[in-house]
Amino acid sequence: MPRNRTARSAVLGLNVRRPASPRPLSSRNTSALRRRIVLGTLVVLALALITISFREQSSGPLHDAQGAVASALQPVEVAVERVARPFRDAYGWTKGLFHARSEAERLRAENEQLKQEVIQNESALQENVVFRRLLDYRDSPAFPADYDGIAAEVLVRPSSAFEQEIVVAAGSGDGVEVNAPVVTAAGFVGTVTSVTEDAARVRLLTDESSAVSALDLRTGASGIVRPGQSGDALVLDRVSKREHVEVGDEVITAGWRSAGLASLYPKGIPIGHVSFVGRLSTDLWQQVLIRSDVDFSAIDAVLVLVSRRPAPELP
């Protein structure tokens, strides 16, 4: 392609030639020069304005001029603002509507979350109260000596009226053994019947197969506590008619020991209070009903008693 032809003219096949040499100070050069001068002037002017405006105090002449021009433009701005206000209000209203809807959804979700947290907090608070009561009981003089109390949460409650057993969150890893007595601050609960590493199954005192030797704290009358005919009622069986057991008497575990044998339960654990005493001439023993202070249907946590002494050997 000849040097004096443009690429476009070559493509188009036009036989148009560029001038062999550009004329000095052509209109193109003049235009480019003018353009550069304008840009340079504006840039210098802007930089000068920035410098002066930046370095000058707020009461300087440039700021005064800026304020004056701004004041002069203020009516125009106000007019434009008034014209624009309905559009801005409409936009704000629409945006607020969308925002309100999303905000409502967010608040609804937050409300649900807070409800869950409140429930969890209340549950934790109740657990805290229960465990604190247990700890108070463990630290009180009423707690059996030579025993350690292992606090455990109830994992499984009785699933039906025919099954009076619970599962607690303490096992052989915590030192829990079979036949270990289980108590709460309100009194005797039952006995451990089986143990795993992390959990233990506890037969409640209300189970048909439970039997605990007990005595009336006031009179010393002894007997055996068995589950009664209905609900959580207990019976103090085999109490001699010679003993003057009265309603309101406190019944505790007997915790006997003789000839190398000992009761599984330590002495002095409260079982309940006498609620009825009957003496029929046809019966060999008194009829003594006990009302336990333990609510067997709502046990949240228990103390499993672990003896510090070795178990007594059988003869």
């Binding site: 480019a32 504006l42 802007a46 920035i50 930046f54 440039l62 433009l73 801005r88």
Partner: protein, 175 residues
């Protein structure tokens, strides 16, 4: 450029700047707002060339600086450079190309954001880089691209397609 044409261009810049500071800047969408002055400036520069773009940018920016009582010259410098570049782009590679307005808006928006951040940083203003260069830039860019073509069409209908064009033809067309 004729005097009437220049006056019309000045009026466009004046109205765009005032609308920008009184209305458009407050219509934020997803954290960003359209830059009506920038859009008008891009349209003017593409239609009327680099000199008009630079002068219009300087005037519009100065008007924004005055009305917002900001440091004088900051917006003027930014918009003057953007107007000049857009005008040169329109005079050369972007001439008569359909995508030129959108491409110019894209580049101008990003350039104004970055250059503005740098300039404000230099003069000691507290500006969050994350907010300026990411949080507001993306929605602003989207809005500017959305409004770029309508604003360009409006300016072209006001100014006329070719009357008064003062561009210097760097690429001389034959045939």
């Amino acid at each position: 450029m004729r005097a009437a044409d220049g006056a019309l261009a000045g009026a466009i810049v004046f109205v765009a700047a005032l609308l920008q500071v009184t209305l458009v800047a407050s219509l934020d969408v997803a954290g960003g707002a359209a830059d009506l002055l920038l859009l008008a400036l891009v349209a003017l520069a593409l239609l009327r060339g680099a000199v008009t773009g630079a002068v219009a940018g300087f005037a519009g920016g100065l008007l924004v600086d005055i009305t917002t009582l900001d440091t004088l010259g900051v917006s003027a410098l930014l918009y003057a450079l953007i107007g000049y570049w857009t005008g040169r782009y329109g005079e050369t590679t972007g001439r008569d190309r359909a995508h030129a307005p959108l491409l110019a808006v894209l580049v101008a928006t990003v350039a104004v954001a970055y250059a503005g951040y740098g300039l404000h940083f230099l003069i000691g203003d507290d500006v969050s880089a994350r907010r300026a260069l990411f949080d507001t830039l993306l929605p602003t860019l989207a809005l500017n691209l959305l409004l770029g073509r309508p604003v360009f069409a409006l300016c072209r209908s006001l100014l006329g397609r070719s009357a008064g064009r003062d561009h210097a033809p760097e690429v001389r067309l034959f045939g």
